[in-house]
Symmetry: C2
Subunit: 102 residues, 2 copies
C-alpha cells in the first residue's frame, strides 16, 4: 500500500513521548543523522537500525508518533524525512541540544 | 541508614539514560522544579510524586542513576538536590531546553 503513513499533529505530541523516542540509541542516531543532513528524504534502508524487520518497523512507528519524522511507502521501499521546522516550533532547541550532545 | 545515596560520575552516564529519566512526567516535574529553584536541597516529601512508597523510591533511584540528583537520608527524611553544574558540563543546554519546554 503506497502512500504516506499517518502522523500526529505536533500539538498532539507531548514531551514525554519525544524524550522516550529519543532515549533509544538507534532512534536517536537516525534523528541526528537526519538533523545533520540536507533536509531531503532518505531511504529507510540506509539507516543503521537493527536487522529484524519487526524491530525496524517498531522504531519507525515510534519516531512517527513522536512527531519527529514523516514516512512514505514508495512501493519499492520506504522513505523518511525529519519534520524539522514543525518540530522546532513545538519543542524549541531540543533537536539542536540532542544533536550537539550525541 | 543515614547518609548519601551512591550516584554515578557524570562521565559514566549516557544520554539515553538521561532522556529515559526525563521522559516520565513525574520525574521531569521534579527536575524542572529543582532547576527553577535556588539550588539548595529540598525534602523529597515536598515533591508531587505518586503516593506509593515503592514507586517514589524507584523514581528517585532513576533520577540518581541519570546523574540528575544527589540524595541523602537524614534519618528523619530524605533530601535531594540537583547536580546542576556537573550535569550542565556533561549535557550542555539539555536542562535549559527541557525546563523551557515543560
Amino acid at each position: 500500500m503506497a502512500g504516506e503513513f499517518p502522523v500526529p499533529e505536533l500539538t498532539e505530541v507531548d514531551l514525554g513521548t519525544v524524550l522516550s523516542a529519543l532515549a533509544d540509541a538507534h532512534r536517536r542516531e537516525v534523528v541526528v543523522e537526519l538533523f545533520r543532513g540536507d533536509g531531503t528524504e532518505r531511504a529507510c534502508s540506509s539507516f543503521p537500525l537493527p536487522i529484524a524487520k519487526s524491530t525496524r518497523t517498531h522504531h519507525w512507528k515510534v519516531l512517527r508518533q513522536a512527531g519527529l519524522v514523516r514516512q512514505r511507502d514508495a512501493g519499492n521501499g520506504t522513505f523518511v524525512r525529519l519534520r524539522r521546522d514543525e518540530f522546532d516550533a513545538r519543542f524549541p532547541g531540543l533537536l539542536d541540544v540532542v544533536a550537539g550532545i550525541s
